[in-house]
Amino acid sequence: MKSAAFDYVKPKALQEALSLLEEAGEDARLIAGGQTLLATLNMRLSEPSVLIDITDIAELKGISVVGDSLRIGALVTHTEIEDSELVAKHAPLLKAAAPHIAHRAIRNLGTWGGSLAYGDPAAEWPACSLALRATMIIHGPAGERRISASDFFIDLYTTSLEPDEILVATEIPLASKQEVFYFHELARRHGDYAVAGLAAVAQKQGDVLSNCAFTFFSVGATPVMAKKAQDLVNGQKLSDELIAKAVAAARAEIEAIADITNSAEAKQHLIGVLLERGLKHMSA
């Protein structure tokens, strides 16, 4: 299908984009990679009057190390993350996750910031940003504000971004030498959205994991942390018994939601399957 008509502007600077957004109000949409937005426009699920193309704005680009954080600009594409040596070194979870996002032609345009701002609970980046305890840097009419990933994802496709705000970048603490991670998703076909997925990070000393973050995606309305399972595992010597307890805890604390093809029960089961594999992998 073809989209309805709209106007198109391409500001060069962040301030200009923010002013345009404020002027145009509810009728405007930001466009970054367009890999979600243009599909919804083609299907006429949305008919904005103007697209504000933010891809010329330098402040939103680039991957860099700032102090003890890895800063990833909102416009960084999935492919750039997949291919980045800085990411491989400082946030290896992201490198492992990137190839699971759609296919290369889509990864070449789709962006980190677009994915976070869209807040799809089945998407890889929201879950990874939660597991990596990322901080979102947001600009709006009142200037800059920072918010942790754990407060950013509010509900289905709903984040704490206001309509007049732009996500500028994300900061992620640099991976320590002790950091271990596990990324896996169960999908019907490589590149499809997962039936259920897990992005997990922990600090490992001997056979003890601490500071665990087990983040599941494609199971609820937002990415979800298995907090009780984390508490059980933190600081304890990992054994088959402990893994079994953590698996039971994760299944009990997360209330999975069914999708078109998969029941809530099936997802609840897969949460445990993923966590068991993840814990075995991270403790190996």
């Binding site: 073809k2 309805a4 008509a5 367009g34 243009l38 599909a39 083609n42 290369r104 345009l109």
Partner: protein
């Protein structure tokens, strides 16, 4: 609202100046305005890959990219990449393996395969299958398509070229 925008881009080596409606996506522009019929449209929602073209050296979904977004860019389609020889090995290999039936998916398959060969010259058969799963073949010719791509990877690894099916007289 049909406010048109002035754009200019290089398509298959040629500088193009045009005026387009912002809502016109790149493949409609290439097919309808420039009469390049290589890139096809299937789903127009990013799922099938029939619309795959190259923009600034990377493959993209031409149905999820607006012609106005391509302003100032270098665009390449199967037509241009055929002429400059980029796809020759793949095309010969596709012919050898009969890796097409109706051919609707072929331009997208060739461009996706070319990027794989460039990015992952050591790709395994399994990786070829994963990569190409983003392009739908409605005639379900996947096996021969995968065979054809794997042959090109093998030949490249040995520093060889795929022999033409028909000798150039």
């Amino acid at each position: 609202m049909s406010l048109k925008k002035k754009i200019s881009m290089t398509v298959n080596g040629q500088l193009i100046n045009a005026e387009v409606e912002p809502r016109r996506h790149l493949v409609d522009f290439l097919r309808e305005d420039l009469h390049l019929k290589g890139p096809h449209l299937g789903c127009e929602q990013g799922a099938c890959g029939a619309c795959t073209v190259k923009v600034d050296g990377q493959i993209i979904r031409g149905c999820l990219f607006l012609a106005v977004q391509a302003d100032g860019s270098v665009v390449e389609t199967v037509e241009g990449l055929t002429k400059n020889g980029t796809l020759t090995d793949l095309q010969e290999s596709f012919m050898r393996h009969n890796a097409m039936q109706c051919g609707f998916c072929s331009s997208g398959m060739l461009l996706a395969a070319a990027e794989l060969i460039e990015q992952q010259p050591k790709a395994t058969r399994e990786q070829v299958r994963e990569w190409i799963s983003g392009n739908y073949c409605r005639c379900t010719g996947y096996h021969s398509i995968v065979d054809a791509i794997v042959d090109v990877l093998d030949a490249r690894a040995k520093g060889q070229k795929i022999k033409p099916v028909v000798a150039n007289a």
